[in-house]
Amino acid sequence: MLLGESRVVPSLQKAVKASSADETLIAAQRGGRTTLRFSGGRIHQNFHEEEVSVWVKVACEGRMGVATTCALSPEALRRAIETAMTIARINAKQVGPAFGTAPPKDPTPKLTTYFPATVKKPLTETVQMIRRLWTQSAAIGVDLAGSFVAGEDELAVVGSRRLTQYQPFSAAGLRLVATQAKASGFAAQTVRNLETLDSQGLAERALEFCRKNKDPQPIPLGRYDVLLEPEAVAELLEWLSYIGFGAKQVVERTSFMAGHLGDRIMGRQISIVDDGADPQGLGVPFDYEGIPKQRVCLVEEGVAKEIVYDSHYAKLHRRHSTGHALPYDEFEGPLASNLFLAQGQTPYADLLKKMDRGLWICRFHYISGLLKTQEALMTGLTRDGTFLIKKGKVAGAVKNLRFTQSILEAFSQILAVSKERRLVADPGQGLSAAVVPALLIKNFTFTGQTK
């Protein structure tokens, strides 16, 4: 159960007030979630966790220190501040404030991110829902594996110069993998409000892909036009963000954006923004430093435009933070994690019809984007449904394939973008998502095949 703003914020304010550091910033995230994992007609892992994470950042005479703890008690907070101050004493002096502790100049957008219904549903009802799905699939000889997650969190950030931010949020999700012999199909959905979860629709989708995926055949390796489902597009986009959209990667020049801001790096059909305040996504309106999340246009009609900052990298670049700071004990730099890929003009149902010959891919597995980050060269495999398309129709299932492909090149060869978009996210996390369309791409390179 959430403690609420009236209990969390004062406990942090009290600790900040008692701190003898010049500046003190505390972020606290507290929540609980229930997870059920199932396969073979039984729930084999089920657990409920309640967790508190607290990150403390202090500045003492221009030196910074970071510490974390896992409790909101006055003693735990006092000890964390003391540890951070001990660390600050050995740190190098920095010029000017590295982080803000006063209320931000820009207003924090209002966003409804908490729905009590998400955590109120009795566990027995959820178990019955899963049982219903099993029974349906078992009747046609298909096994249904998957997971259900439902949880709630509250995030608060308090700074010594009266910065105060608080946001509760909920998230729930269902992932399903339908299997029959070597065939499999996948479907997943993540929602803020559990009442909007369409478990029946997901099961039907997973079963439909599994049915189509029977007796997969090998095909010659090479270049194929591909129709990527939103789940596959989202994974590519998340990797692009991880290796390229943050200021750290640009400073270190490992990003494909480094030295190319203002250049065309993708096709005109590709526009990518990060917007933590867009209610279609899964963001909260401020980051772990309490900075309101800005809408950042990363790629506009194929042109590299902007990158995201936290306070540290903003200072290095003489810019303002865009509200993309991670928890203070992370060293990855700022991260764009509320990604939106612009929708296109083509109805989803017409995408397949546009393919003369190609592959329809439901999702990817185990992508690595570290091959050549400057070119966004990535590898990965198809999973749970790869289909050969001939003259706009499914001609048969294909064995899982490995791609090795520059995603900058792929996103420069867009044939069509769907009108409809889907939210793809991890329900166990509840703070990040990609909202993406399906993409029809020309000449995607496949370099390997599974047995």
Binding site: F38, Q45, V66, L381, K451
Partner: protein
């Protein structure tokens, strides 16, 4: 040290659960400390000190699991958590037709502690920082080195495990390690070299003395030199050839293509919704030829200094040394009490959670390639044409762990039994059993190296486990290096 108050509270919770007539229950209290120091380009970039403490309660009642975890460690908090676990087991059992069976284990009352010389948490922060500054200075000392990063990490985990069967196990595990990374840039060319592994620090279950053995300052010169050499190196050509993998790449090959597929929960389909299944299904146990006769792989939770070493796993099963691949034949699984019961075997003691707030699942311990004979020099000398690959850079494998592709930071040409020029951007690909069956040599004990991998991801929500891998350099024949060339369709 675990306080008397904590012991009493856990004891009280076990009695409470017994009174509720559970089939079985355990309480696991965990306290974790983590310190991280990062120096980049002679500037202290990041220092943090993290603590986390909580307890998890696992209940088997009416034949079903209930599990709850919380950082509320007072009497009321633990009771609340215990009730949540009981309620969950009851809710699941109302609609369940199967009953969980556990393989029996002898109750233990024991204590395990990492053997160490210097407690890393007692070493002054300033001393650690000075060492990293010195390293960073050596690493950065070339105009083409754009980013020189040196870091140290230390972990301490205190655990108390108590079960209704009478086990009471206390463990204190200390890990130390670090990472060097040099990124060199010339025009649009960007290359990176790392040590001892890449992407994350290599850890050992040891004290600060391990940091000294890593010899960061001495290694920094080589790392810098190789990063700069890669800027002007030739692209690694695509071909089917002989490859020799150095231990810092071979450990990832072991991890992905052997460690994960022998996790019995995967093989039984329990990870299908997330990480996937395994091609090593139980019907293949004892007969499937996984590799050549030179391939012997062991899951050893007793390896000295291993990150997968412990006294007991997180359900009180003693640490074991289990053969996984014997002379190329698949002979064993990593398993838990529940999964082992499903194939009528004993648990291999591999049930672990990455913290108090995570449910224990089957994890790797130290999955090691046992040493063969000879030296790396012998392996190279006996190779007419081939490529020597070192330090993992990228990794990808399919959901049944068959089709893999790895990239490494650096490679060297081998010509007529000698090392030749440096090659950049190398990668290789294959099918797991075909690859291991092509193993033509494994170097001996003298070149066997152990690494600690702190970021093995598995489970929902994802848990990051510390595991260990040891290997000597090994040679493989007819391996596809680079991308397969194929005719246009």
């Amino acid at each position: 040290m675990i306080s008397a108050r904590t012991r009493n509270l856990i004891d009280e919770t076990i009695r409470f659960l017994k009174r509720h007539g559970v089939d079985y229950a355990d309480v696991r209290w965990v306290e974790q400390l983590h310190e991280e120091i990062v120096v980049q380009n002679l500037q202290l970039q990041h220092v943090s000190h993290s603590t986390s403490e909580g307890a998890s309660i696992r209940v088997l009642s009416h034949g079903c699991w209930g599990y709850a975890a919380s950082s509320r460690l007072d009497r009321l908090g633990l009771k609340h958590t215990a009730k949540q676990a009981l309620e969950m087991a009851k809710a699941i059992s109302l609609d369940s037709h199967t009953r969980v069976k556990l393989k029996p284990v002898e109750p233990s009352r024991a204590r395990y502690q990492t053997s160490l010389e210097v407690d890393p948490f007692q070493v002054e922060l300033q001393k650690k920082l000075d060492y990293l500054m010195w390293t960073s200075q050596v690493l950065k000392d070339h105009p083409n080195i754009k980013t020189a990063t040196a870091s140290l990490e230390f972990y301490r985990t205190n655990k108390l495990f108590s079960s209704t069967e009478g086990s009471l196990i206390e463990q204190e595990i200390t890990e130390s390690g670090g990472l060097l990374e040099a990124t060199a840039i010339l025009g649009s060319e960007v290359q990176r070299r790392s040590y001892p592994t890449a992407n994350s620090p290599s850890l050992a279950q040891a004290g600060y003395e391990y940091v000294k053995t890593l010899d960061f300052v001495g290694q920094a010169t080589r790392v810098r030199r190789e990063a700069v050499a890669l800027l002007r190196a030739k692209e690694c050509p695509s071909s089917v050839t002989t490859v020799i993998l150095m231990p810092d790449q071979l450990i990832l090959q072991l991890h992905e293509s052997c460690g994960h597929p022998v996790e019995l929960d995967r093989a039984l389909g329990m990870e299908l919704s997330f990480a996937g299944g395994s091609f090593l299904t139980p019907d293949l146990l004892g007969s499937f030829r996984y590799g050549s006769k030179l391939v012997n792989i062991t899951a050893d939770a007793t390896t000295s200094q291993g990150c997968g070493t412990f006294g007991y796993d997180d359900e009180g099963v003693p640490a074991q040394r289990v053969p996984i691949i014997r002379e190329g034949v698949f002979v064993g699984y990593l398993s838990s009490r529940e999964t082992a019961a499903q194939i009528k075997q004993l648990s291999s003691g591999a049930m672990r959670a990455d913290g108090w707030d995570a449910v224990p699942i089957v994890r790797m311990t130290n999955v090691n390639l046992e040493p063969g004979t000879g030296t790396l020099k012998d392996l190279i000398r006996d190779t007419q044409r081939g490529i020597l690959l070192s330090t993992n850079k990228s990794w990808s494998i399919d959901d049944r762990r068959l089709n893999f592709q790895f990239g490494t930071e650096i490679a060297w040409e081998i010509r007529n039994g000698r090392i030749g020029q440096v090659l950049k951007n190398p990668m290789y690909t294959g099918i797991t059993p075909e690859f291991w069956r092509s193993c033509s040599a494994v170097a001996g004990k003298g070149e066997w190296q152990l690494f600690g991998v702190p970021n093995c991801a598995k489970g929902e929500p994802v848990q990051l486990m510390h595991v260990g891998h040891g290997a000597s350099p090994a040679r493989f024949e007819k391996v596809q290096v680079g991308r397969k060339t194929h005719a246009p369709r």
